[in-house]
């Protein structure tokens, strides 16, 4: 087991500040012409401090930076450590991968600039130990990811970017409002305080939806299937592998998980919503052709499962830490597996063209099926901790979920099989992967396969998850799913009968490509013209008074009028004085 080597102290603080600091420095090196090449060389290594921090630092390290923003606190806790490890691995491997993937792109420095700042902010939000720090990094990460999504500047990418940005802004203000409401009741804004307090009502709802946008909560998931296919492969990998987990982390940090007297109704709703997403994602995903879109829908489905977990946390008082831990394990497992699948889409060539390629296809089965919870994969552990949580639930939910959970695994099997088939069918032509790409992919694959086995603090789970009774429970959905897919390929290919455009629900509200409605030049000129005309009329009107005024003034010059005024005034004075 990895044991924390570094205690609180100077080196720890230095390492902690390098976690977001190094990527930022490298990112800004990319902006200068002179330092650009060095920056590109360094880019894949920028995640190393994060990795080191995740592996070496003692949970509980805490660093208060009073002058920073509005009172900053950075540190590592148990949950953060697990998320940081995931983030460091995926970001690092994807960056390494990306160096090769974008080797022919003249704007690779632009990509890596956004990549690195997004990475830094992602690390930052994991480390943040106070409300505003979390919000700060969350917001920054969301905004800078825009640059990743629109990197290839195609119309589809712009549209996806727009949808993403709109949703990000909506999420942003929702989170802001939720946090304001929450902060107004708290003595201070540290996460520890928040965890101890119970927040309900408005702020709960606002934060749930706000973070839900990032976490791909149905029906706010529409940006995911749009953004993934258009973004460069490494960007998709981190998007699906890590960044959507930030929303999850937000829930873990700010929702009152496992507390008494908080809205069980909300918990139930969240569980149902999660289950809905789990199946909905699969159904829509089966109708897709494009591999990255399929993976995106799979992510939606998997995030649905995690949403359900969070919902369980709300339903099960007293099990907060357990749920949190389960979610972080699940997230670790899903993040690594999904990222390695995504990276694979960036190096696939026509099927069977080379031994390496076909070998890679076979290797893909492991992360793919681990998503479905195949025994002896990381997915099995994830499913196991999931069940542990479910067992803690009160009566109706326990029954429902025990019944439904295997079905979600089955559904997942369907979609990963669909994905594998599409992969095997071949991808649009891509240049052959460089050795670095292969190496980074392998690294991710290995960590996906192994890490959940070695990582947990209680290895007991690993052994429990491999008990014989559970083996069958894990195996049958996969087998059944595989058979269903075989049958459907043969007689009833889903994607031929069901076509849903990527972004599904979005098409109801925004059916076609529309540029932002900007008034065009002709319209502007027309208005200007009418303004001028109105001005002329106004001037005519204005001139009326002076001309009349001059006329009257002329009349006033007559002596007779003056005489009359003279006499009148004399009389007026006399009368008024006599009175």
């Amino acid at each position: 087991m990895v044991s924390p080597l570094l205690q609180n102290g100077e080196p720890g603080v230095l390492l902690l500040s390098m976690v977001p600091g190094l990527p930022l420095v490298v990112a800004f090196m990319l902006l200068g012409r002179a330092t650009r090449q060095t920056g590109l060389q360094l880019a894949p290594w920028a995640a190393l401090p994060a990795l080191a921090a995740a592996l070496l630092l003692q949970p509980g390290i805490d660093l208060e930076v009073a002058w920073f923003f509005m009172g900053g606190r950075m540190g590592i806790d148990e949950v953060g450590r697990s998320f940081l490890l995931l983030a460091a691995l995926v970001w690092g491997a994807a960056a390494w991968f990306g160096r090769g993937y974008l080797r022919a792109d003249p704007r690779d420095h632009v990509f890596f600039f956004f990549y690195l700042i997004t990475m830094a902010f992602n690390f930052g939000l994991i480390l943040a130990q106070d409300m505003l720090g979390f919000y700060l990094f969350f917001g920054l990460m969301s905004i800078s990811a825009y640059g990743l999504i629109v990197h290839n500047r195609s119309p589809e990418a712009r549209r996806a970017g727009l949808v993403y940005l709109v949703l990000v802004m909506v999420g942003e203000v929702l989170i802001f409002s939720g946090m304001v409401v929450m902060a107004s009741r708290l003595p201070d804004l540290e996460l520890a305080t928040i965890a101890a307090s119970s927040s309900g009502g408005v702020s709960f709802f606002l934060l749930l939806v706000g973070f839900g946008i990032k976490a791909g909560l149905v029906p706010l998931h529409v940006w995911l299937p749009l953004a993934h296919p258009v973004a460069p492969v490494p960007a998709s990998a981190v998007l699906s592998g890590v960044m959507i987990k930030a929303g999850l982390l937000g829930w873990l940090r700010f929702l009152p998980l496992g507390q008494e007297s908080v809205l069980p109704g909300w918990g139930g709703a969240l569980v149902l919503l999660g289950l809905l997403a789990a199946f909905y994602g699969v159904i829509i995903g089966l109708a897709q052709q494009e591999v990255k879109t399929i993976l995106a829908y799979s992510s939606i489905s998997q995030m649905g499962v995690m949403t359900m977990l969070v919902g369980c946390g709300l339903l099960a008082p007293g099990h907060g830490p357990q749920v949190t831990w389960a979610v972080s394990i699940y997230a670790l497992h899903h993040g690594l597996a999904k990222a390695s699948l995504f990276l694979a889409t960036g190096m696939g060539t026509a099927k069977g063209s080379s031994p390496a390629a076909s070998g890679q296809l076979w290797l893909l089965f492991l992360p793919a099926l681990s998503l479905a919870g195949l025994p002896f994969t990381s997915g099995a552990i994830a499913k196991f901790v999931l069940k542990e949580v479910v067992h803690a639930l009160p009566a109706p939910w326990l029954g429902i979920l025990t019944f439904v959970l295997p079905l979600t695994a089955l559904a997942t099997t369907l979609i990963v099989c669909h994905f594998l088939k599409q992969m095997a069918a071949g991808l649009p032509h891509q240049s052959a992967p460089s050795p670095a790409m292969r190496l980074s992919w392998l690294l991710l694959w290995l960590s996906s396969a192994l890490l959940p086995w070695v990582w947990p603090q209680q290895p007991a789970y690993a052994s429990q998850a491999t008990e014989a009774a559970l083996l069958w429970q894990g195996l049958w959905p996969v087998v059944a799913g595989g058979m269903i897919m075989m049958v459907s390929w043969r007689w009833w290919p889903v994607s031929r009968h069901l076509t849903v455009p990527a972004g599904d629900l979005l098409w109801l509200v925004w059916p076609s490509h529309k540029e932002l409605a900007r008034k065009d030049e002709a319209q502007a000129e027309k208005r200007l013209f009418s303004e001028i005309k109105a001005g002329g009329r106004a001037r005519q009107l204005l001139d009326f008074f002076p001309s009349q005024g001059r006329r009257w003034e002329k009349k006033l010059r007559r002596w007779s009028l003056v005489g009359a005024a003279y006499l009148l005034l004399c009389l007026l004075f006399l009368v008024m004085l006599f009175r």
């Binding site: 002596w559 005489g563 003279y566």
Partner: protein, 108 residues
């Protein structure tokens, strides 16, 4: 109230003032206006003189001094007015093709 000579003179003076006033306001000619002003001045002088008579038998010298000075002022201002009138006439005459302007000028 009996019509004492001083009252009669005074009222006459005021009448003259009013007549001058009327002429000033109605006379179309500048010369007429100048004369009207003179008549007004004379009326006032008459009025002032009656004040000197006053109540007692002693003649008050102050109004007389006022009238004397007033006459000087009146004469000089009439002179200025007449000189000005001459300049106006002179300025209006040369452009014979503009007879209208002359009328305007005369009316002031």
């Amino acid at each position: 109230m009996a019509l004492s000579p001083s009252l009669l003179y005074g009222l006459t003076g005021l009448m003259l003032f009013v007549i001058g006033l009327a002429a000033l306001f109605t006379s179309p000619q500048l010369l007429g206006k100048i004369l009207a002003v003179n008549i007004m001045a004379s009326g006032i002088f008459l009025f002032l003189i009656t004040l000197a008579h006053g109540s007692g038998t002693l003649i008050d010298p102050v109004p007389q001094a006022m009238v004397l000075t007033g006459i000087v002022v009146s004469v000089s201002s009439t002179a200025v007015a007449l000189a000005l009138l001459c300049r106006i006439e002179a300025a209006a005459r040369p452009p014979a093709h503009l007879p209208k302007k002359k009328d305007e000028a005369r009316q002031g």
